[in-house]
């Protein structure tokens, strides 16, 4: 059991803005919360490769094909160092992966939506990565050292992805009638799910207060969402895209944009597994994992043989 003195000392370190490192003492609950958050983040990077991978073979120019491949490669890299970061908390990558393939571990619900046209790839870059940046910029200041550093690195690459997505979407939004239609349609489909990425309202978010107290997060879901909406409204306007919310309006008093009601029923239903692509995403990851087993076994066996050789 964690003693009150340990908890108080820990809280003092957090309040002083100190970073917690893997070998430092930490409350069990802090460790658990971090494992949950970091592994969810890692799973999201990996599952996120699927909706984008869906377009790699069909990207309409070589330049953009390379951009997408590089992005997907970055995501594998993010997943890799997030899993490594999580392993510092005393769990293995294998356990974590099996937890979302066979268990109940979650990943970002945004990846349970399908990528229907190439414009979706641009919108994922602009909106989804844009939202991720808002979240990860905050997490780069997280109290857990390895997680803070991972987010710092991830943010740099995500900013690049966002810029590329936005740039191509701008071209489509100002392109031929077909391109304009695809661009607007993609924004219509991705807008609300993107707003849901920040999680439930503060009043419905059971973990928030604790995470903020421990400095894992420094802003609430609603604060982050508002920040995202504020900056995205201008970006949409600049390229002639309409955000699909008739209630979106500038509030002189608060200095922020007010927006309409988020369809939370849909959010909870997708989180619980009933989304358009939930089954497909898990199935694809499961197949990759199971079909890859013989490869991982072979690598292990080969390494074992070499070690034996060295010893003899």
């Amino acid at each position: 059991m964690d003693t009150q003195k340990q908890l108080d000392d820990f809280q003092k370190r957090i309040d002083n803005g100190e970073k917690i490192e893997p070998k430092d003492w930490m409350p069990e609950r802090y460790r658990k919360q971090l494992i949950r958050m970091m592994s969810q983040h890692a799973h999201s990077e990996i599952v996120g490769m699927l909706p984008e991978g869906n377009w790699i073979t069909r990207v309409p120019s070589l330049k953009r094909k390379m951009v997408l491949l590089a992005k997907v490669q970055d995501e594998a890299g993010h997943g890799l160092y997030l899993y490594s970061g999580t392993e510092t908390l005393g769990v293995t990558r294998k356990e974590l992966i099996e937890d979302y393939i066979y268990g109940n571990a979650k990943y970002s619900s945004i990846f349970n939506y399908p990528t229907l046209t190439y414009a979706d790839i641009c919108v994922i870059g602009w909106l989804v990565d844009g939202a991720a940046i808002v979240n990860q910029t905050m997490l780069a200041k997280s109290s857990y050292g390895p997680y803070a550093r991972a987010n710092l690195r991830i943010c740099k690459e995500e900013s690049f992805h966002k810029k590329q997505g936005y740039e191509m979407l701008a071209k489509m939004a100002n392109g031929t009638p077909e391109q304009r239609k695809m661009a607007q349609d993609a924004v219509n489909r991705w807008w609300w799910p993107t707003l849901m990425m920040f999680g439930p309202h503060d009043s419905d978010s059971p973990n928030s207060a604790e995470l903020i107290k421990w400095g894992v997060k420094t802003k609430t879901n609603d604060e982050l969402r508002r920040h995202f909406v504020d900056r995205t409204v201008m970006e949409a306007e600049a390229i002639g895209i309409t955000l699909p919310d008739p209630e979106l309006s500038y509030n002189e008093e608060t200095g922020h944009w007010d927006f309409g009601a988020i369809p939370w029923d849909e959010f909870w239903s997708v989180v619980k597994g009933d989304g358009p692509m939930n089954l497909e995403r898990i199935k694809a990851r499961k197949i990759a994992y199971e079909e890859g087993e013989w490869v991982r076994k072979a690598a292990k066996e080969y390494a074992r043989k070499r070690k034996l050789e060295k010893a003899s």
Partner: protein, 262 residues
Amino acid sequence: MSTFDTIPQTRQEALVEVLLRLADDRLILGHRLSEWAGHGPELEEDLALANIALDMIGHASALYEYAAKLDNKPDEDYFAYFRDDIDFKNIALAELPRGDFAFTIARQFLFSLFSYFLYKDLIEIVEDEQFNGMLQKHFKEIKYHLRHSREWVLRLGDGTDESKSRIQNAFDNIWMYTGEMFEIDEPFKAAIEHNLYTKVAKWQSEWRTFVNSTLTEATLTVPDYEQYMFTGARSGRHTEYLGHLLAQMQFLRRSYPDAEWK
């Protein structure tokens, strides 16, 4: 000879032909590798295969860009998106479906080795500065591709019984598509005249020596070099797989050719 073959008459025509052949190999195989994104056996391999795919498509794009300049075509995308299967000049080995991880590795090893010896020779003889610059730049990445796939051939060959039988099968099945790497047809003969391609005899034997030593180290059996070999893809006589690959790759660009997609 295929329906559209014309033997390059000038140095420039020969250069365009060589650029396109090298580029097509790389685009098509890069495409197959890119199909692995998100489906690899482990995260490190998702990363590695996407990285190699990116390199290969990057090489193709640079080669196409130069060919477009010489051949008065709009840009690199012209060659990738607006030609039909009978116009593509890649060897058939590149277009075969991605298969399992063993097949991907066997193919990548044989192809990277082919690229390694070919580029090494070309760098020595090609006088065209721009082409030679590309070869040198790409050669560095080819060395990494070769190392990556060779290490996996060893791991799979000398790993478990299952991995051994899978990689052996992969080599056995792909073997008949290796002959095209070493064919010298009329267009290549013309290129050799202009120091834009090399006589293969020397590096074909180097290639075999390297293959033999790697497969032996991996405790695998080297398939028969004298068996039936597929031929014709360089002049447009492809397998049925290429058409489907192109249908996917080209559909959007061809549906809206006048739109800006770069």
